[in-house]
C-alpha cells in the first residue's frame, strides 16, 4: 500500500490549510509584531527590538522573574504529575477486569472525568475541597488535619495535583489498556510454559509492548500539564500569593489583565517555542510508530483493518450510535 504521489491532493487539503492558517498564522504574526514594540495605549506603538526578550530571560527584572518563576513551577508540576499518573495509570490498566460487562462499566467510569468541562473540574474540586461544605476538606479537618487550599500553599498544591490525577490518570490508563489488549495470547502462553513470574511477564512482555503508547501518554500528559490553565485558575486563582500561578495563568494575567501587549507577546513566543520543541519529539515518535504499524500490517495482512492497538474494529460502532 504505497501512497501514490499526486500534487492535486493539495486541493483536498486546501480547506484545512486555509481554516487553520486563518486561526493560526494571522494571530501569530500579530504576536511577533507586538513582541517587538511597546505601547502607552491609544494605539501608539514604539519600536522596542528584542528588549522584551532580554527582559524575559533576565531573572532580575519584574517580567523575567515572574516568567522564570512560573516556568519553574510549571515544570515541577508537570514532573510531579508524570511521576504519579504514569505508574498509577499502568497499575489501573493492569487491574482492568478481563471480560464481561464489568469491562465496559470500568471503561465508562474511567472516561467520565475526561469529558467534563475543565472549569467544571475546577468547580467540582473547589466544592469538594472546601473545609466548610466539601466532603474532603470537612473530613480532613475533622480528622485533625488543618487543611485549607485557599490560604495554605502546600494544601493548594496538593489540591491541584490530586485534581489533575483525578482528571487525567484515566487517559494514561486507557492508553495503556489499549496497548495491553494488542498483546497476543500466545505471548502469555509461552511465558506460562517457561514458568515466568508475574513480574517477569510485566517487564519482559507487557512493558516493552506498551512502550509506544506509554511514550504517547507521557508526551500528551506533559504537553497538557505544561499549558494547564482553567482547572487551577478556577480552584486557586493562581494563589495563595503566586504559588500556583503557572505559565498560562501568568500569560493571561499580563495579556488580558494588564493589556501589556509587548510583554505578553514576547512571553507567548518563548512559550510557543518550548511547546514546538516538545511537539517535534512527539511527531518523531508518532511517525516512527506509524512506520512500525505499517511493517506490522505487511507481516499479517489480516491486521490491516485494525490499526495496531485499536480496541475494536471500526464496524463495532454502529453509524447511528456514532452520530448521537
Amino acid at each position: 500500500m504505497d501512497k501514490t504521489i499526486n500534487q492535486k491532493a493539495w486541493f483536498l487539503v486546501l480547506p484545512v490549510f486555509l481554516v487553520v492558517a486563518f486561526s493560526a498564522v494571522i494571530p501569530l504574526m500579530t504576536v511577533v509584531n507586538y513582541s517587538m514594540q511597546d505601547t502607552f495605549g491609544n494605539n501608539q506603538f514604539f519600536w522596542n527590538g528584542v528588549g522584551w526578550f532580554k527582559e524575559l530571560l533576565d531573572p532580575s527584572t519584574d517580567l523575567g522573574g515572574r516568567f522564570l518563576a512560573s516556568l519553574g513551577r510549571n515544570l515541577f508540576f508537570s514532573l510531579v504529575i508524570l511521576a504519579i499518573e504514569v505508574p498509577l495509570g499502568i497499575v489501573i490498566a493492569l487491574s482492568m477486569p478481563r471480560e464481561g460487562w464489568t469491562v465496559a462499566a470500568c471503561l465508562v467510569i474511567l472516561a467520565l472525568p475526561l469529558l467534563i468541562p475543565w472549569n467544571v473540574v475546577g468547580t467540582i474540586w473547589q466544592i469538594f475541597g472546601r473545609p466548610d461544605i466539601g466532603l474532603l476538606g470537612y473530613t480532613l479537618n475533622s480528622l485533625g488535619i488543618n487543611y485549607n487550599y485557599v490560604s495554605n500553599e502546600i494544601d493548594a498544591w496538593v489540591t491541584v495535583i490530586v485534581m489533575d490525577v483525578w482528571h487525567w490518570t484515566s487517559l494514561v490508563a486507557l492508553l495503556c489498556y489499549a496497548g495491553l489488549k494488542s498483546i497476543p495470547d500466545a505471548y502469555y502462553q509461552a511465558a506460562q510454559i517457561d514458568g515466568a513470574s508475574r513480574w517477569a511477564v510485566f517487564t519482559a512482555i507487557q512493558l516493552p509492548k506498551m512502550n509506544r503508547v506509554l511514550l504517547i501518554a507521557v508526551l500528551l500528559r506533559f504537553m497538557d500539564s505544561f499549558m494547564i490553565y482553567t482547572e487551577p485558575f478556577v480552584v486557586t486563582g493562581g494563589g495563595p500569593g503566586n504559588s500556583t500561578t503557572f505559565v498560562s495563568i501568568e500569560l493571561v494575567k499580563i495579556a488580558l489583565g494588564q493589556f501589556d501587549l509587548g510583554k505578553a507577546a514576547a512571553l507567548s513566543l518563548v512559550y510557543n517555542l518550548i511547546i514546538l520543541i516538545v511537539c517535534w519529539v512527539f511527531y518523531t515518535v508518532m511517525t516512527n510508530a506509524g512506520v512500525e504499524r505499517k511493517t506490522q500490517a505487511e507481516k499479517e495482512p489480516a491486521a490491516e483493518l485494525k490499526p495496531a492497538g485499536a480496541l475494536q474494529p471500526a464496524h463495532a460502532l454502529q453509524p447511528k450510535e456514532g452520530v448521537a
Binding site: K3, T30, V91, S95, V108, L171, L220, T230, G322
Partner: protein, 268 residues
C-alpha cells in the same frame, strides 16, 4: 493474564476516587442552600429541584447553554467538513510538503490557548465577529481541525484502496464517490471524530470566554461569574456543573472504545 494481584480492590478504590467528587457535586445540586451551608449531610435530607428550575427558567442561565451548543455545533460541522477531504488526501497520496503540513497541524493542536487569546481577541474584533458564536467556532478550529484530520485519516486508511479504484472504473466522479461511497463506509469514524470535536470544544473555556462578552457568552463563563460574585450560590453552581457533564455522560457509552484513540490523536 494481563492482570495483577489485588486488581479488584485497586480498581474499586480508583473508581470510588473518580466518582466521589462527582457524587458530591450531584448531591450538592439537590440540596437547599441553607442545608449546604449549615450542616454536613452525605445525601440531601430535603431534596429540592429549585436550582435546576432556576436554570431552566432564568434566561441569563439557560441562554448560556444555548450559546455554548451553538458554537460547539458550528465548530463540529466546520471541522468535519474541511477535515474529510484532507483526511482522504493524507491517507491516499503523497504530495509536496505533506509531512511538514502534518507537523504544522500538530503544533497547532498543541499550542497553548493562552497564547492565542489576545491575538484572537484583536482579530475577531477587527473583522466584526467578536461576541458571536462564529468567533468561538472558528477559534476552536485551531485544535479541532487537526484532531478531526487525524481521527478520520485512521478510518480512511482502513478502507481498502481497491474500493476507490473500482468506483472510479465504474465512472464515479470524485465528489460522487466521496459522498456515495466513502462517507457511508467511514460513517462510524465520522461519528467518533464529531464526538471528539464536540467534546473538546465543549470543555474549552479560555478562548470561549475571551471571545464573547454578552450575546454569545458560554455557560462556562456564566458559571465563573457566579463564583466570583459575593454571597455564593453553591447549589446553583453545582446544578449548572451537573448540566454541563450530561452531554459527555450521555454519549460516553457509544464511544467508550474510542476514548484512548481520540485523545491520542488517532495514533493508538
Amino acid at each position: 493474564m494481563h492482570s495483577i494481584p489485588g486488581r479488584r480492590v485497586i480498581m474499586a478504590l480508583f473508581l470510588i476516587f473518580l466518582l466521589l467528587p462527582i457524587y458530591w457535586l450531584v448531591n450538592m445540586s439537590f440540596k437547599t442552600n441553607s442545608e449546604i451551608v449549615s450542616t454536613m449531610t452525605l445525601w440531601p435530607h430535603t431534596p429540592t429541584l429549585q436550582h435546576y428550575k432556576r436554570i431552566f427558567t432564568d434566561e441569563s442561565w439557560y441562554s448560556g447553554y444555548i450559546n455554548s451548543l451553538e458554537y460547539v455545533v458550528l465548530n463540529t460541522i466546520i471541522s468535519i467538513t474541511v477535515a474529510l477531504p484532507a483526511a482522504y488526501a493524507f491517507s491516499r497520496y503523497r504530495f509536496l510538503g505533506d509531512k511538514h503540513l502534518f507537523f504544522w497541524l500538530l503544533s497547532n493542536r498543541m499550542a497553548p490557548a493562552a497564547v492565542y487569546a489576545l491575538p484572537f481577541f484583536n482579530l475577531y474584533s477587527a473583522i466584526g465577529l467578536f461576541d458571536t458564536p462564529w468567533a468561538v467556532a472558528l477559534a476552536h478550529c485551531i485544535f479541532n481541525v487537526p484532531l478531526a484530520v487525524w481521527i478520520l485519516e485512521g478510518f480512511v486508511s482502513g478502507v481498502p484502496r481497491e474500493i476507490d479504484e473500482t468506483a472510479f472504473l465504474d465512472g464515479y466522479s470524485f465528489p460522487r464517490f466521496f459522498v456515495k461511497i466513502l462517507i457511508p463506509l467511514i460513517a462510524s469514524g465520522i461519528g467518533v471524530a464529531a464526538f471528539f470535536c464536540f467534546m473538546f470544544s465543549w470543555v474549552e473555556l479560555l478562548l470561549a470566554r475571551t471571545l464573547t462578552s454578552v450575546q454569545a457568552k458560554p455557560i462556562a463563563a456564566i458559571m465563573t461569574r457566579t463564583v466570583s460574585a459575593a454571597g455564593m450560590d453553591w447549589g446553583l453552581l453545582a446544578a449548572a456543573g451537573v448540566l454541563t457533564i450530561i452531554p459527555g455522560a450521555l454519549v460516553i457509552w457509544f464511544v467508550r472504545n474510542y476514548i484512548a484513540r481520540g485523545f491520542a490523536l488517532g495514533r493508538v
